[in-house]
Point group: C2
Chain length 242, copies 2
């Protein structure tokens, strides 16, 4: 990425998760870094065939870098919104409070996403499955909402229901991590689950549900590594009954 970034280059991270701007600030201390949060439901039903369930919306705003001019950051974000929306077919909105928007999306991504991946159930089925919403999804969301609150971001009281009911049930959307597992891809659990968990626990928020989900994802990721020969597994012993 280094040679592609000039003095006035604006870097846009349209990626989920928390603290993703930190390595960018470190590598490009003089460049404006923008946050992009995309609200979209899409899945690859066949290789190369992407199905999009509803219209997406992209929220763009500056990751506040204390060593840069805030006005310059804001202006870069607004310029991007103008350019991206110019065709009239895309929805792109300026987003002043990037942290709030990221915590808001984490209510979905740190909770429903790993729960669907671990159980191999899409968002429709997880709502139908006995005990899953009340026993898993809601407790996990409560923890994320508390962690966001402790970080200074107050989410509305309807947020859990909003996120649970976001997609129509009968869309049966597999969230990204479930799609990745079904394609034997790595799962993106560190930025969307691990980082908010570490952030919340650092602030003293108890997050027992997310801790378990996190370690289950870690074990599942390890399996992906074994499939790629990246971890060594001793050969099977001989236990033939003597």
């Amino acid at each position: 990425m280094l040679p592609a970034v000039a003095n006035e280059t604006v870097i846009v991270l349209i990626q989920n998760g928390l603290n993703i701007e930190r390595p960018m600030f470190a590598a490009f201390p003089a460049n404006v870094v923008l946050s992009g949060v995309s609200m979209i439901g899409a899945s690859e039903s066949r290789p190369g065939e992407v199905e999009q369930g509803f219209n997406d919306i992209l929220y763009i705003g500056p990751f506040r870098n204390p060593s840069l001019d805030a006005e310059k950051e804001r202006s870069a974000a607004q310029t991007f919104v103008k350019i991206y929306g110019a065709g009239g077919k895309t929805q792109c909105k300026y987003n002043a409070d990037v942290g709030w928007t990221r915590w808001r999306k984490l209510v979905y991504n740190a909770c429903l996403n790993p729960i669907c991946a671990i159980t191999d159930l899409d968002t429709g089925r997880i709502r139908l499955a006995e005990g899953a919403v009340e026993g898993l999804v809601r407790p996990a969301m409560k923890e994320i909402i508390a962690a966001g609150q402790a970080s200074g971001y107050h989410l509305p009281p309807t947020i859990a229901d909003d996120m649970i009911n976001m997609d129509p049930l009968d869309l049966y959307l597999p969230p990204s991590m479930l799609q990745d597992l079904r394609k034997d891809n790595y799962i993106e659990y560190e930025t969307i689950l691990g980082e908010p968990l570490r952030e919340g626990e650092k602030l003293g928020v108890p997050m027992p549900t997310l801790r378990v989900l996190y370690h289950l994802c870690q074990a599942i990721q390890w399996k992906n590594k074994e499939a790629r020969g990246l971890v060594s597994v001793p050969p099977r012993g001989d236990f033939t009954a003597s």
Copy 2:
């Protein structure tokens, strides 16, 4: 089962889990009911081909029924031990404290068993997988040990390590629930996980790890029910972009 049980019939439950004697006490109030806990590692490598990793041992003792004579119960258990071990090829031991033996086995069965099933990792791989033992297995086992303690059964301080290291790592044994999932069978999570969880929580023991594992198993079981057409799933909606 009713017509098979006569006045003097002794019922032997060689089955895992907690409180399994209750329906038997209710249905056969005058019969001695024995507890059988089998310590065995076996898997069906091919249909009909059962591979046994090491010698099994069966613990037999009476489920104490307050309305029966304790001496009669003990004598029935000891008779069973004698008959079962008579051939000299099987190990069968009299077990005075049935509750202790059941909680001891639950340290393995309520923890390692669902964790392996949910992650699709055998007991060897779960020990190799990054973070799984310290992040999942040990916290779960601590909760079960505390629940057993609250129920009056004190397990030795080495119990978690004993259970984690029970099988040789390179035996790569899939515990029963993982074997069941791999064969698309129902999983036995209510008696070995749900019942100790309910028992522990009733006694005020916090069991956050086991709660999550329980609800994940419940969601996975629901998937098995869907596959058998036992739960109804509304048809997929039409969300073709308009």
